[in-house]
Symmetry: C2
DNA sequence: TTTATAAATTCGCTTATATGCATATAGGTA
DNA sequence: TACCTATATGCATATAAGCGAATTTATAAA
C-alpha cells in the first residue's frame, strides 16, 4: 500500500469498488472484469492501472494477458471490513459475484 | 450513512480525513477545526458541509456556532478501522490530535 | 440599533476524474 | 511474415473538486 490517500481514492469510484469486490475473490485478467461487469476494455484497463498505481492491486503479465490481484498488506484491515461488512451486503456487488461465477464457468480455457 | 460511495468520497481528501480524525475524539465547532488544522474558515466549512451531505457527520446549531459530530451508525466499522488502524499511527494525524488538545485548553469559554 | 463574530455561500479559476473513440503495442498463432 | 487477440495509451471532452477572496446570513452583545 502506497499512500493511504491514494488507496482511498481508488475506492471512491463505483467501478473500482466493483473491481475490488471481484479481485477479493481471486486473481483475474482484464477480460474477466470487462465481461463480468459488462464494461469497456478501456474502462477496465484504466481503472485497474489506477488501482495498481495506488498500490491496491498488482499485476502479472503472462502471454498476452494481464492478471490482476489484490496487493494485500497489513494495512488492508479497513478494506476487508469495507468489503465484508458493506459491499457484500449490497445487491450490486452480490450480482457481480454471481456474474463472475457464471462467466468463469462459461469461458473455456483462458480469456477468449 | 447515506450512499456508501458518498461516504468513501468524503474520506478521499486529506483535509476531510484530518477533520474526521478530530471529530472521532469529540464534537467540535467550525472554529475549533480551523484553529487546530490551521485552515481557512471557508475550507473548514465547506468540507464539513461536504461530509454532512455524505451522511458522515451531523451538525447542531447553537447560538452563532455550528457544532459537528460523527453521524455514527452500524455501517461505520470500516471507518473505525481506518481511523484506529491507519490514521492514528500516522504522524500528521497524531500531531493534529495534540494540537486539538492544546487549542481546547487554550480557548476560554466557547469559540473565540 | 449598531457592531462584532461565526458560519455559509457565491464567484472565478485551476486541476483532477471519468469515459469514449481511435490507435498503438505486444505476444500468440496460422 | 501476416494476422489475431489482449491490453495499454493518446486525444478530446464533460464533469466534478478544491480553493482563495469577498460577500452574505445569523446570532449575540454593546
Amino acid at each position: 500500500m502506497e499512500k493511504l490517500l491514494d488507496v482511498i481514492k481508488s475506492l471512491s469510484d463505483e467501478t473500482r469498488l466493483r473491481i475490488l469486490n471481484l479481485l477479493y475473490e481471486k486473481e483475474l485478467c482484464v477480460c474477466d472484469i470487462m465481461e463480468t461487469l459488462q464494461i469497456s476494455q478501456t474502462k477496465a484497463s484504466r481503472h485497474l492501472i489506477y488501482m495498481k498505481n495506488a498500490g491496491l492491486v498488482k499485476d502479472r503479465k503472462y502471454a498476452q494477458w494481464a492478471y490482476y490481484s489484490l496487493d494485500k498488506d497489513e494495512k488492508m484491515k479497513f478494506i476487508d471490513s469495507l468489503i465484508l461488512d458493506n459491499l457484500r451486503s449490497m445487491e450490486l456487488y452480490q450480482k457481480d459475484m454471481e456474474n463472475l461465477k457464471i462467466w468463469l464457468s462459461k469461458k473455456t480455457i483462458q480469456c477468449n
